[in-house]
């Protein structure tokens, strides 16, 4: 993985010193809250319902075991013993003290971490496929490009005060695990007719108040032009994006109002102009330097078939169940990718205690070349586990309560912090997730239902990605009472779609019944091995709506 050079260390350490002084001046009265707020937000420090909240960046979701241990240490020493992994592959601490935040940032800087680009109208922390570099279906490793984008975008003077926040996601695989079509810019690696890798550039996707699927503005962008093209997109946005209305300031609105064709022309013109004035390409040497950080670890030459694994699968149903949902194909023979569910039945989606973080760090060190990933679905990943080691990894996860075999199933729920923590929320998300999780706890039933992406947001900002859930749940405030609007048919993958609102919102105590009804319709109507979303696409909203509201 990437290691800081002298420049990175200096930048992050200087930021810690700056913020320490800013906190001192705030407490001493030399800065008002109005002056201090933008400064704290530039360092990921929000003020939430009960306390400050510190959002720490995990660039493209990649962590070392040492970094995970430091995150655990911060949770233990400076917070209340846990952290919350978010849908942007970051981690949030819910209870830091203002005057201790510079100490936390100092601790993080020692392990090459920070909280820059986790707030504000800048290019936010770049997100990526959590299986980057190890996925069997990958064209190229997106971490290389994510790191280049990180270096280019960090404190970029031209793009530090954009009309609104700006999110870039990247995947190197045709199977999109990074939801690239619902980002301001989505990058999907493709090959041209000559077999060379490049990027499909998707612009103007997003969720929030006005959900939109992004549009392809470039079918194939040669790798060397990556930054120039991103810069062209951002320049057009920076010049023409609306700054008069917070709700119309994202690039998706600009693309929508300008029209995809016209917007694409503007970007291409800017790109041509930049290329003509100062021909800019990624220097080959620099690309190679960054790529060198992402060389595969020292894999052993292993058989693609493991007798140890086969024996364990035949002997232990619990292990087989876990293996079925939690283990994905690896590009290296004899290895597998393990997803660790942070969705225990009745738990808080994405929360991990300091002890659990420690267990994952230890497992990564012993079984996965000391590397960990965070997924936007709020789970953790051990990317490089030998097939022979899978039974032992499972035993240790099981002992730590981290082996819930529900990855990709109905209880693998994305949920934002909602009104239990968040100042923007209209309704609670977590208790709804917990109730649905309990309702569908039975594993046989979960497996019978099959792949189902259920996503819950506590407000229209959609941090819980409800718009792209196969079943989406949105918390709304109806005259001071929490209600929940249900959407169906959303999809965050390469076949992205925004879900359809099924009808009037449900009260909090009726929403899990509604989910049960929806799933009942699916089970009654599905053909062969159709997933929920396949059945929905075939039969449409009507049968679900009739069953949910027919009696009304």
């Amino acid at each position: 993985m990437y290691r800081y050079d002298e420049f990175d260390h200096t930048l992050v350490n200087e930021r810690v010193v700056q913020f320490r002084d800013q906190v001192r001046r705030r407490v001493a009265g030399d800065l008002t809250e109005d002056e201090f707020k933008p400064l704290r937000l530039m360092n990921g420090l929000y003020l939430q319902l009960h306390a400050y909240m510190l959002r720490v960046a995990i660039p493209y979701g990649v962590l070392s075991a040492d970094q995970m241990r430091r995150l655990a240490h911060v949770a233990r020493v400076y917070d209340k013993g846990y952290g919350h992994f978010t849908t942007r592959q970051n981690i949030q601490y819910n209870w830091p003290l203002l005057e201790e935040v510079p100490d936390i940032l100092d601790e993080l800087a020692q392990v090459e971490m920070h909280a820059i680009q986790t707030s504000g109208n800048c290019i936010r922390n770049v997100t990526a496929d959590q299986f980057a570099g190890v996925a069997a279906d990958e064209i190229d490793d997106p971490r290389v490009y994510a790191e280049i984008i990180r270096q280019w975008s960090t404190l970029h003077p031209e793009f530090s005060f954009l009309p609104r926040k700006f999110k870039i996601a990247i995947t190197g695989a045709p199977n999109d695990r990074a939801a690239v079509k619902v980002h301001d810019i989505g990058l999907r690696m493709v090959r041209n007719e000559a077999g060379e890798p490049g990027f499909e550039v998707i612009v103007g996707g997003g969720q929030g108040r006005t959900p939109m699927i992004g549009h392809v503005v470039r079918g194939f962008l040669p790798v060397p032009h990556l930054l120039t093209y991103l810069e062209a997109v951002l320049r057009v946005y920076n010049l023409l994006g609306r700054r008069d209305n917070l709700y119309k300031a994202r690039i998706k609105i600009l693309v929508h109002q300008t029209g995809v064709e016209e917007f694409t022309c503007l970007v291409e013109e800017e790109f041509e102009l930049m290329a003509r004035e100062t021909p800019q390409v990624l220097p080959g040497g620099e690309l190679a330097r960054i790529r060198a950080y992402f060389q595969p670890p020292a894999y052993r030459a292993l058989s693609p078939v493991s007798d140890v694994l086969a024996t364990a699968l035949g002997r232990d149903d619990g292990f087989a169940r876990w293996h079925q949902t939690s283990v994905a194909a690896h590009k290296q023979p004899g290895y597998a990718i393990v997803t660790i569910s942070l969705k225990p039945i009745g738990g808080v989606p994405g929360d991990a205690t300091a002890d659990e973080m420690g267990v994952v760090a230890d497992l990564a060190e012993r079984y996965s070349f000391s590397e960990i990933r965070v997924s936007h679905e709020q789970n953790l990943v051990l990317p490089d586990v030998a097939l022979d080691d899978l039974p032992q990894v499972w035993r240790e996860l099981e002992a730590a309560g981290l082996a819930t075999p529900n990855v990709g199933l109905v209880t693998d729920i994305i949920a934002c912090p909602g009104l239990d923590y968040c100042n923007l929320a209209n309704a609670r998300s977590i208790p709804i997730a917990q109730e649905i999780s309990h309702r569908f706890a039975d594993l046989d039933r979960q497996h019978d239902i099959g792949e189902l992406k259920l996503k819950i947001s506590g407000c229209i900002n959609a941090c819980g990605h409800h718009h792209v859930g196969h079943i989406g749940i949105l918390g709304v405030d109806k005259k001071g009472v929490e209600h929940y609007q249900v959407t169906l048919g959303g999809d965050a993958s390469e076949t992205a779609a925004v879900g359809d609102i099924v009808g009037p919102a449900f009260s909090g105590d009726a929403v899990s019944d509604a989910v049960e009804t929806v799933i009942g319709v699916y089970l009654g109507q599905r053909q062969a091995s159709e997933r929920f979303v396949d059945t929905y696409r075939r039969i449409g909203l009507k049968p679900f709506k009739e069953k949910l509201y027919g009696a009304r």
Partner: protein, 106 residues
């Protein structure tokens, strides 16, 4: 007509606080100063002095009602602020002694 209490977050730790008589601040809602709609302006003016003194940030008035257990906020968001996360009863005000004998106001 709704009764009003002024709430804010404490500067140093962000904890939820309520304005008590004489412009002091308390973590305990039942010890808050309760005014009427008409009092909101003067209550906020007093709160702003505490902002200037760097005790609290972002004060605002909330509606409260007298319930069987004492004063409660009218809106669910303020109920959660006054108690803590409903999914972690071991955290927030509900886990401590904010209204008990060990309570110390600002």
């Amino acid at each position: 007509m709704a009764s009003k209490v002024v709430t804010a977050n404490r500067l140093l730790d962000g904890a939820v606080v309520y304005m008590a008589p004489e412009g002091r601040w308390t973590e305990c809602l039942v010890k808050a100063f309760v005014g009427s709609d008409e009092d909101s302006g003067s209550m906020m003016a007093m709160a702003e002095r505490s902002v200037a003194d760097r005790l609290v940030v972002t004060p605002y008035p909330i509606d409260v009602e007298e319930g069987p257990q004492g004063l409660v906020p009218s809106h669910i968001k303020e109920v959660i602020r006054a108690t803590g996360p409903t999914v972690r009863l071991d955290l927030g005000k509900q886990a401590g002694d904010v209204c008990g004998e060990h309570h110390v106001s600002l």
